[in-house]
Symmetry: C2
Subunit: 303 residues, 2 copies
């Protein structure tokens, strides 16, 4: 029997002793010169190979320290088919190292189109009676704008395979309030989305007390994070915005339950690019940045 | 100098004499048996090759009759890297045939992540001073939930290269009202999104009187379509939901301006799968279905 996603996540975070999620957002101009020099900047295949080499090295450096990684699909897609082949290699390696993989693709579409995205993300594309694996990630970020038809096929596909979702509720960007903060009948729009996520999540609660439909809630809005933590006690949060985007460990503290569970906190650039490209000690810099964030977040979790 | 996207679209629709957009949503179980039999159902590479062969044949059959095609990224992604290679081949061939290509990927993310998606969709990924082409489509569908940071990088990238966007406003699915119809200060949520789209669009109006930030408005909500046509006179609409989803030619008539421009109307399954897999005359069925929709929609446009 497949273990419930929420329980796998709770176990992994407990084992690691911290809620850090390492975001994999490779960018050519930020890569170590040592890696760039070995690859062809003139072709997408070359760039994709550099992204793959860099991300594989990052995985080796952070495995054992953290529980979760989050590849950002946009950067792999930006290298075309070769970039998506690299995404597959990186995902497979992360899982071999015992890391959970959240694919950050913010997909959202209706009916059979949503099912196609979801099957590709999780159990594989069904063709002539068998499922062909595609991205094979543990969880996926999903955009709720289209309504229940855009989310339910993802939930169905995730539940069949013991995977999870993180639905965008309150994002970390400066312009997030333009629509998410609109007052709808005395409550902000994102609270209506939060209610829907809470209902979907409650349909399938695991032994850990958490369900499999999580929420994305930005670290850059600590008051909303606290408010949503109270309103959504059984919902796992994926918290972006910590580190380079400005959110501090104190800002994310409100995202955890008393037992220290309930949120994973993402840092991308802060962990993977804490160096200049010509810095030969870039690997040491990644290890040090990971240790620093792990220690900050452990303190915030158990504070 | 690059021609404005809205003008290219207006010219293409005028030349074709109808607003039909053919959606390319390949699915293994719907493909003609003649194509399935030549490909390996046991590997994603085989399935992707079948999708490519089918879509290329559809392009040959509809070119000259219609102005626009809309590949649905989900189905190409569902075949992994090989599927995305097929998407590139299909897009390139569509452009060679004089068709405009709207990539339906409903992307939305913030800051540099949105820029990565946008550059890949349009002018190419910038690496070490040059732009490497990736999807190279004429327009892209975009999800507005994250707010202006999620849309403005797409607008910037589109404007640099004479491409266009279609931002989700009122989608065609049965559950679209769950969030889009929430009452926010006396107006439904989607009207607030429509206002933002109208403002973005007004920043760059072409000779045709239309701008480059379009809106997705479903055919299954004719009253809202009429209301939005009046409220957003210079905005191109992409209208899904006609045909297999239940919207009729009469339902979409309200989407056009008096001059017959202003909307492209998508049909996917209705055009590309009007046959049973073992029907040997599947190509004739596609040609006939295209002619029928073209004639219905020409009448609706000039009604």
């Amino acid at each position: 029997m497949t273990t419930h996603f929420a329980d796998r996540l709770a176990d992994a975070v407990r084992r690691a002793g911290n809620p850090l999620c390492v975001g994999l957002d490779p960018r050519w101009e930020s890569l170590p010169k040592a890696i760039r020099d070995r690859h062809d900047a003139g072709s997408l295949d070359g760039v994709a190979a550099a992204y793959e080499a860099f991300c594989l090295r990052v995985l080796d450096l952070v495995a054992g320290q953290v529980a979760v990684v989050k590849p950002q699909s946009a950067f792999f897609e930006s290298c075309g088919p070769a970039g998506l082949r690299a995404l597959q290699v990186v995902t497979r390696r992360a899982k071999e190292l015992g890391l959970l993989v959240v694919l950050d693709a913010k997909r959202g579409d209706i009916a059979s189109t949503a099912t196609a995205y979801a099957d590709a993300a999780f159990g594989g594309t069904p063709v002539a009676g068998t499922s062909l694996p595609v991205w094979d990630s543990d969880a996926l970020t999903v955009n709720p704008y289209l309504g229940r038809d855009a989310v339910e096929p993802f939930i169905r596909s995730a539940r069949q395979t013991g995977r999870g979702l993180f639905v965008l509720v309150r994002t970390s960007n400066p312009g997030s309030g333009q629509f998410q903060d609109l007052d709808c009948g005395g409550r902000k729009f994102y609270r209506h989305v939060a209610d829907a996520v809470t209902a979907w999540n409650s349909e399938n609660i695991g032994a850990s007390g958490f369900g499999d439909v999580g929420a994305v809630v930005g670290a850059t809005h600590p008051a909303e994070l606290a408010e949503l933590r109270t309103a959504m006690p059984g919902v796992w949060f994926l918290v972006p915005g910590y580190g380079a985007q400005g959110g501090s460990a104190a800002d994310v503290a409100a995202g955890f339950r008393k037992d220290g569970l309930g949120a994973i906190v993402n840092s991308s650039r802060g962990i993977t690019f804490p160096f200049q490209p010509d810095d030969r000690a870039w690997e040491d810099a990644i290890v040090a940045a990971t240790r620093r964030s792990v220690s900050e977040l452990s303190a915030a979790t158990h504070g």
